[in-house]
Symmetry: C2
Subunit: 132 residues, 2 copies
């Protein structure tokens, strides 16, 4: 909890509500002390984060270390929010899982081929609301 009057910790429900309103987040991975950060398209549903991606360095990192961090923020004139979570990322391979992921209806910014789904199951999350 924060002791500053203009910062409030969000409840878990509020945190999921913020995640549900956004489609762009940032995924961070770490392999051998080397850290990477990727902007990603995502959908939040059933208390999981689903990310559509193309084969590349993101997947290579996650195959080595599935412990990831994920962030979303929203900054307005007088109000800002941030959500950070840590969790386990899996590359979805089973048809049932991929069907669930596709049911999110997630589109990507470009209509390019992003055939791989990641699912992040949070192990810790926090959200904060800032007013000024």
């Amino acid at each position: 909890m924060s002791d500053q009057p203009n910062i409030r910790e969000l409840t878990e429900d509020e945190t999921w509500e913020i995640l549900g309103k956004h489609q762009i987040g940032r995924l961070a991975t770490a392999v051998g002390g080397d850290v990477e950060i990727f902007p990603v398209n995502f959908a939040a549903t059933n208390r999981r984060i689903f990310v559509r991606t193309a084969p590349g360095s993101k997947l290579a990192e996650i195959a080595v270390n599935g412990h990831v961090a994920f962030e979303v923020d929203e900054v307005g004139a007088d109000l800002a929010y941030s959500v950070v979570l840590k969790g386990a990322a899996e590359i979805l391979e089973h048809d049932d899982d991929i069907t669930d992921a596709e049911a999110t209806g997630l589109l990507t910014f470009l209509d390019t081929h992003k055939p791989v789904w990641l699912r992040i199951t949070p192990t810790a999350m926090s959200g904060r609301r800032f007013t000024r």
Copy 2:
């Protein structure tokens, strides 16, 4: 370089131009395979990233491993940008360095006490422009 017609790699100058237009970025750190991501207020000047922060977990992480990643993005209806860089973060301790950092005029979202300056010197950076 991308082979997709609607994705263009930014030049280094364009990348700094995008960084110069923003004040909120995301800093990722890694210690022992554990990754953290923090939304931060920043200023880009003289080809360095300056971040104002308060004592806390961010600084503890950087004291252990100063190799960080940093990200900024901007998403509009038809155009989006992202910039990702990797670099070495230092906690500024010398008066001259702190004077340089303060000269950026960086404000934080809240007028709270954030007395510590970080300076990130990029070792690799990339920027992309997406149109649809």
